[in-house]
Assembly symmetry: C2
Homo-oligomer: 115 residues x 2
DNA sequence: GCTTATAGCTACTGATTCAGTAGCACAAGG
DNA sequence: CCTTGTGCTACTGAATCAGTAGCTATAAGC
């Protein structure tokens, strides 16, 4: 299993250590952003989170949660389940412009009707 | 091979069709963002681009370029090589806040020195 | 104590995706 | 013809993901 991407170190897809590369490696892994997204609803248990994520396989969910915890983006309070840390909240905020871009992109794509 | 993620359709990691999910599927694929990033230097040939990307395997580079072209983010002018479209430029701009977040994240990680 | 239920997680198998190397077809220059 | 450069494909093996089953632990009910 690949190491949790860490700014300053080489990651999958780049050896420059640029923080953005580490972030993209971390967030680009399957379900990573989705988990983040679903956690905006507040703290929830492993199983509840899994249910929100289309019953993703626990293998992957556990892996993503471990990475996100390791990166200080998600916290696990025993009994209360998983929740975003302050860092996680600011990450969600930083993703907003990408969300906006995606919306504009979707609108254009609908007009062009690619393929 | 998986289809190019398209807003409005189910993608890897989500079936909601939310544009952000399609964008993340597209950009989360290995080397996708890196290619975008390296294209900010201006138009360049397939091989030049490949050299900038740590000699990524042409299989993957070609696949990512096809997806990005298919999504209207990258354009290929015969003779001039590959370049960002207007859409691609705005995507780069939308990624700036994530870049900032990553920088702050890296700074915190350095302080905490995880692991 | 025994059953039932929930939570968190691990094991195992098979599919998808990525990585790495080689090499093709085409065109320009000499 | 021979070399150089470009865009790309084929093929093989490795990493990652997906899907199902089930284990351990804690707590409630009886």
């Amino acid at each position: 299993m690949a190491a949790t991407p860490k700014p300053g170190a080489a990651v999958r897809g780049s050896r420059t250590g640029r923080p953005i590369m580490a972030a993209l490696d971390l967030l680009g892994r399957r379900w990573a952003l989705r988990v983040l997204w679903e956690l905006r609803h507040g703290a929830q248990s492993f199983r509840a989170l899994r249910a929100r994520c289309d019953e993703v396989s626990p293998t992957v969910l556990n892996q993503r949660l471990a990475e996100l915890r390791d990166s200080g983006i998600v916290a696990h309070a025993p009994g209360a389940g998983y929740a975003l840390s302050a860092e996680g909240e600011s990450l969600l905020a930083a993703l907003a412009p990408l969300n906006d871009w995606a919306a504009r992109w979707a609108a254009k794509g609908a007009r062009k009707k690619r393929a």
